[in-house]
């Protein structure tokens, strides 16, 4: 069995409802995210929100990041459980939006500049270069976003949010359109971000069940209940309790693959 403890509450979504005109998109979405600690390991949380395309994942993503307000319900974050405000949760959209008119260095600098830390030009440069090295971006700092591949832009996008100092980072479909080798690299990258800080919490919104589950410690299944309009959390999968969390090579485990098939059948 894995040795871990669930400690303080980091995020709580309560009774989230979202309606557009009379159409119910999300219905009574409730879930909690706790800080998970492991002995001798500094590691954050990796949570997945799994659901079919068009089910309302992106809308929930925007609500969790404070970019849109739900019709009713609340999202509370941090130790003091305050209502989420845009800017407190980092967002990595599916198409890795960056400022096209800024070089990679300046894109990262703008993230750091909004972190609230008072830094001299040299200190900022050192921090950016150090992080760029960790994320294998050191050779691309003078380039513009259009000169980078999709995978490289994704790394810049994640690093930009890390430099802003956000502990929560939401990723919308990070595996979308990537080949299997690049998907493995994204796995490594996200684990790296998770290991940067105990309270770092990555929330992956995806329909790619196998890759998302393999990274996560907890998964929430977003689906529609029979006869009810609007998506809600229909199941919580505790991958830590099941012994699947933090295990490299888990994608080859046949019991894990059975779990993937089981979840697939419920979407």
């Amino acid at each position: 069995m894995l040795d871990y403890k669930k400690e303080k509450l980091l995020l709580k979504a309560s009774n989230i409802n979202l309606k557009y005109d009379t159409r119910q998109i999300l219905r009574d979405v409730n879930f909690e995210i706790f800080n998970v600690t492991r002995p001798d390991v500094i590691q954050g949380q990796v949570i997945s929100l799994i659901g079919r395309s068009g089910i309302g994942k992106t809308q929930l993503f925007k609500i969790l990041s404070g970019l849109i307000q739900p019709t009713s319900g609340t999202v509370l974050i941090g130790e003091e459980q305050r209502p989420v405000v845009a800017g407190e949760v980092g967002v990595i959209p599916q198409n890795y939006i960056l400022f096209k008119h800024r070089t990679i260095y300046n894109n990262l600098k703008i993230g750091l500049a909004n972190s609230g830390r008072k830094l001299s030009e040299n200190e900022a440069k050192d921090i950016i270069e150090d992080h760029a090295k960790q994320f294998d971006l050191q050779d691309h700092l003078k380039k513009f976003p259009a000169q980078l591949s999709g995978g490289q832009r994704q790394r810049v996008s994640i690093l930009q949010q890390v430099l802003t100092g956000n502990k929560f980072i939401l990723l919308d479909e990070p595996f979308s359109g990537l080949d299997p080798i690049v998907k493995d690299k994204v796995d490594e990258l996200l684990m790296k971000v998770s290991h940067l800080n105990e309270e770092n919490t990555l929330i992956i919104v995806s329909h790619d069940i196998i890759n998302t589950l393999a990274l996560s410690d907890t998964a929430f299944i977003l689906a529609q209940e029979p006869g009810k309009e609007g998506a809600t959390i229909t199941e919580v999968v505790d991958l830590m309790a099941m012994g699947y969390a933090w295990r490299p090579g888990i994608k080859a485990d046949h019991t894990f693959l059975d779990l993937v098939l089981n979840i697939k059948s419920k979407l």
Binding site: P93, N95, F99, A146, T164, G177
Partner: protein, 265 residues
């Protein structure tokens, strides 16, 4: 990599790829054909290319041409400069609700004809130069604002969301995404709309001929039915316009190098 051989059928296929040198040959060939057709069909009322060329050479060798040319260039640059500033201010303020109706009204002014407003502008301005500048600005700004607002409207909403997630205020997001992020597009709009001002200038110069200008030259030549000169001036105006377009395109690449890259997947 070896250049693929261009087949004759490629010239007639939609999306046919013919390469740079073949495209150059095609352009030259079509130009020669057009000139030959013009030469053969001309000779009556329509001056032939050789007559136009003779007139052009004569016009270019006269000192008054350069006086008129610089007069036109000065007027167009002054009008363009003022129009850009006014259009940028109006377009950037368009996202602030209180200014939105004003921007929308200015856009609709594209449908107002200048001819009907000449009397009003004559009353409002103190001299011929101010009259020409005012008319040009009034004519250009609605087109500029329409293009700029269309650029602003096409900004991906995710860019504003990125700003919010980076803790920027609304004003900071506006500065980053609308002003800095779209400067290259402003330049492109300016390049595209330069043609409008170039077309309008000849008409406006006809209203007050005391300062001369290419428009005034054109009207005088028309008056005396000197069609060789008329066509000569038209060809000169056309070439100056094309050269300006090329120059502005080069400047855009130089000022905004990121516009030359295609986004990789």
């Amino acid at each position: 990599m070896p250049t693929p051989k261009v087949k004759a059928a490629d010239f007639f296929l939609p999306f046919g790829r013919i390469g740079k040198s073949a495209a150059g040959i095609l352009l030259a060939g079509e130009l020669i054909l057009a000139l030959v057709a013009w030469q053969l069909s001309g000779g009556g009322l329509l001056p032939t290319p050789s007559r136009v060329l003779t007139s052009m050479t004569k016009i270019l060798s006269e000192s008054y041409f350069f006086d008129n040319f610089f007069s036109t260039l000065g007027l167009v640059l002054q009008a363009m400069g003022l129009s850009i500033v006014i259009a940028m201010v109006v377009s950037y303020l368009y996202l602030i609700p209180v200014f939105t109706p004003i921007a929308r009204f200015i856009m609709k002014c594209r449908y107002l004809t200048l001819t009907g407003l000449i009397f009003l502008f004559t009353l409002l301005t103190s001299n011929g130069h101010s009259l020409k500048i005012s008319l040009l600005i009034f004519g250009i700004v609605p087109f500029f604002v329409t293009s700029l607002v269309s650029v602003i409207d096409s900004i991906d909403k995710a860019e504003f969301e990125l700003c919010k997630s980076l803790r920027m205020t609304n004003w900071e997001a506006w500065w980053e995404v609308v002003i800095l992020g779209q400067l290259d597009q402003v330049f492109e709009v300016m390049r595209q709309n330069f043609a409008i001002s170039w077309i309008m200038i000849t008409m406006v110069e006809g209203l007050n001929m005391s300062e001369g200008g290419l428009g005034a030259m054109l009207i005088k030549s028309n008056k005396y039915i000197d069609l060789g000169s008329v066509f000569g001036i038209l060809v000169i105006i056309f070439f100056i316009g094309v050269c300006s377009d090329y120059l502005l395109g080069m400047l855009r690449k130089w000022f905004f190098p990121y516009t030359t890259f295609n986004t990789r997947n």
